[in-house]
């Protein structure tokens, strides 16, 4: 049954075309020019500094703490947050930016910290599950909603941001955009330039939560219980 990647398609789509009263559509369909574009108006013309202010304000609503730092103070800022969250064990992506941003002495010496390593396969997930804190770098940051956007690849496992008890996102200020609209445009650009999209793109907005019991908000359900954003001012 699983020989072919696509099964039963023609009968299914013929029925749809038939109900719509026409032949199956074969010719390429251009993306429509929409009559309405309200999404482009949100935070239009905001400066990066204004976007940082919007992000800070939004963090209050999503149970997420935030601090702004210069790159040279990043190790101290990160150290403060890690201590506040109860310290190691820590898991991070394999990403040369950690080193470039001066975090080696913390990640490689000071803390019991594990760097994602595709060669170790399942071991990565076990260590992510045991870690107290997961740290990743954000590719796009959405000011309006307070969202960090993460792109998965072989060195950037999905579970680093989900399995540990706490999550810290490092945010270059230049990654801030008004809202998810700009992220969607960028994701399409990546697709059209490379012919690929990452196997997983995660939009994370604060810690995991649920209001399923009597609609009372509980922060920390399946994913992290706490979340902190560090905005790096000069990147």
């Amino acid at each position: 049954m699983m020989e072919s990647a696509i099964q039963n398609r023609d009968r299914f789509l013929d029925q749809i075309a038939n109900r719509l009263g026409r032949e199956r559509m074969i010719a390429h369909l251009e993306r429509p020019k929409w009559k309405y574009r309200p999404q482009e108006e949100v935070l239009k013309n905001a400066t990066q500094d204004e976007l940082v202010d919007v992000l800070k304000e939004q963090c209050k609503k999503i149970h997420t703490s935030i601090c702004i730092t210069e790159l040279k103070h990043l190790p101290a800022a990160l150290n403060d947050v890690v201590s506040a969250y109860g310290g190691d064990p820590i898991i991070t992506w394999k990403d040369e930016r950690f080193s470039r941003w001066g975090l080696d002495s913390l990640l490689k010496v000071e803390w019991a910290s594990y760097e994602w390593n595709p060669a170790k396969e399942e071991e990565n997930i076990k260590l992510a599950e045991k870690a107290n804190i997961g740290i990743t770098i954000c590719e796009i940051t959405l000011a309006e909603s307070g969202t960090v956007v993460l792109f998965t690849d072989k060195n950037k496992g999905r579970t680093v941001s989900f399995l540990p008890a706490a999550y810290i996102a490092l945010i270059p200020k230049s990654s801030l955009v008004p809202r998810i609209t700009q992220a969607a445009v960028k994701m399409r650009e990546i697709y059209h330039t490379t012919g690929q999209v990452p196997s997983c793109i995660n939009f994370i907005t604060g810690p995991s939560n649920s209001a399923d019991i009597e609609l009372k908000l509980v922060v920390g359900v399946h994913g992290p219980v706490k979340a902190h954003y560090i905005v790096i001012n000069d990147l």
Binding site: R24, P32, Y36, Q39, E129, T159, S199, I204, S210
Partner: protein
């Protein structure tokens, strides 16, 4: 469970609902709380009507070109190494999934909340195969632990239960020993479910939006359960209703923005996951094997007909939260997993008039649902249309009733018209009113009043009365 829940007659279900005082107060405070948050989120965004119009034009465009986008989606999923199965019936869908389960010799399946898998009765099929099926959404998990109770709300499935009831269920079934605090209950569920994610053979999800251009699937949650369901098990099966598709990421973001605001008043929920195919080479989390099941199950029969706009639905439940009838009878009264106005329109279409003939009448046609719908589905008009179809199909209705309905249809055709109509009605009807009845009405009412009396329009409109009453309830 299948789309249909329980075998009680409509009247008995409603009786149960109306007499469940906890459920009714829970529903009322949920409606008020979520309703206010929805309104605040819409106001804060600004241009809300323009957003709704954009949502509507996207959904209408997709439905008009559905075969094209589904073909594009399936090509792109296959290109990324995924499998696509088009299922015209629920039996085809469950049989395909059952075969995967057998082939993988799966024993445990973790699921994130999905209405469409409820619709096709998937859990029962999998349990018949000897699998343990674990719902991971906290609300769904509570219901599952409590002997598979059906959901009563699209986005807050366990809304009808109080925390003491949850505590009792957990104590009895899960060896829980702590208090009825939601935090402690949720923490217990977290611990239990972590084990399940890590040991599951297959993950299963529904689909908020599929993206045709890239073959991606978008899932929206607050708990993060969909992320673990899609990241940990080796095999992932996603089931989507065939209409849940957008052309590109750019339309996806618009509908996600409308969905999260309309459903829970959030700008975005905590987790929005966009995955494309199975894991890439050298990646160690994410599924090795990905199957997308695209389901018709009666949807194509709605296409091209007078109910087509119901397929614009993005399952936000804003209509449920605005509905005065749902407020009083609760979700289980609808006898379908789809409750509220969306359920009253959709259930008869997917499940037939025999089982759901009362639902289109369980409505005041007040239009509150239509006003909040983020993709502008004319819900109350569709309810009215159901009544027309039933009357005409049954062929029993006197011509007088048809005329009266047509007249009402005109007056109720838009919330604005309805407002005006119901506001001027008491004055306009004065000359014909004796006590609180109209016995010889003018115009279209004449036909009606020839055979029966028509209640005189109330001086206080239902919508005003309802609004004021809601205020009084909370003083």
């Amino acid at each position: 469970m299948p789309m249909k829940i329980g075998s009680d007659e409509f009247k008995n279900r409603v009786d149960k609902g109306i007499n469940d005082s906890f459920m009714r107060s829970a529903v009322a405070s949920a409606q008020d709380g979520i309703g206010q948050r929805r309104q605040a989120a819409a106001d804060e965004l600004g241009n809300w009507e323009e957003w709704r119009s954009h949502g509507e034009e996207i959904r209408q465009h997709v439905l008009a070109h559905l075969d094209y986008y589904l073909e594009q989606l399936s090509e792109n999923v296959a290109k990324r190494g995924g499998h696509v199965f088009f299922a015209q019936t629920k039996e085809e869908a469950t049989e395909y999934i059952r075969e995967i389960v057998q082939k993988k010799q799966a024993k445990k399946i973790v699921k994130s909340k999905s209405m469409v898998t409820e619709e096709i009765h998937l859990n029962a099929v999998l349990e018949n195969e000897g699998c343990k099926v674990v719902e991971t959404d906290l609300g769904e998990y509570i219901l599952q632990v409590d002997d598979h109770e059906p959901p009563s709300h699209i986005i807050a499935p366990a809304l009808h239960k109080n925390k003491e009831q949850v505590q009792e269920v957990f104590t009895k079934k899960l060896g829980y020993t702590k208090s009825s605090k939601p935090e402690e209950l949720a923490w217990h569920a977290r611990k239990m479910l972590r084990e399940e994610y890590l040991s599951a053979d297959i993950g299963m999800t529904g689909c908020n939006f599929a993206v045709a251009e890239t073959g991606s699937i978008c899932l929206v949650t607050n708990e993060g359960n969909a992320d673990l369901v899609t990241a940990l098990p080796k095999t992932l099966i996603t089931v989507m209703g065939m209409e849940r598709i957008v052309p590109t990421f750019e339309e996806m973001e618009v509908l996600v923005s409308l969905l999260t605001r309309s459903a829970v008043g959030q700008k975005l929920t905590s987790y929005i996951t966009v995955f494309t195919g199975p894991r890439a080479v050298m990646e160690v989390d994410g599924p090795e094997d990905f199957h997308l099941v695209i389901l018709d199950n009666g949807r194509s029969n709605i296409l091209g007909g007078e109910f087509q706009s119901i397929l614009q639905c993005i399952r936000c439940a804003a209509c449920v939260n605005a509905c005065p009838v749902y407020r009083h009878v609760g979700g289980h009264s609808y006898g379908s997993i789809y409750s509220g106005p969306i359920g009253a329109v959709l259930s008869p279409l997917l499940g037939g008039y025999d089982d759901y003939k009362e639902l289109p009448y369980a409505s005041t046609l007040c239009g509150a649902c239509t006003e909040v719908c983020p993709v502008k589905i004319p819900l109350h008009q569709l309810l009215h249309k159901h009544r027309e179809v039933m009357v005409e199909k049954e062929g029993k209705a006197p011509i007088t009733e048809k005329l009266a309905m047509k007249a009402f249809g005109f007056g109720a055709a838009s919330p604005a018209l309805y407002k005006i109509g119901s506001k001027i009605a008491p004055t306009a009807m004065n000359p014909f009113t004796v006590g609180d009845k109209i016995s010889s009405g003018p115009g279209p009412l004449k036909a009606w009043t020839e055979i029966r009396e028509f209640p005189a329009p109330n001086k206080e409109r239902f919508r005003d009365w309802f609004k004021n009453r809601a205020k009084e309830e909370h003083v």
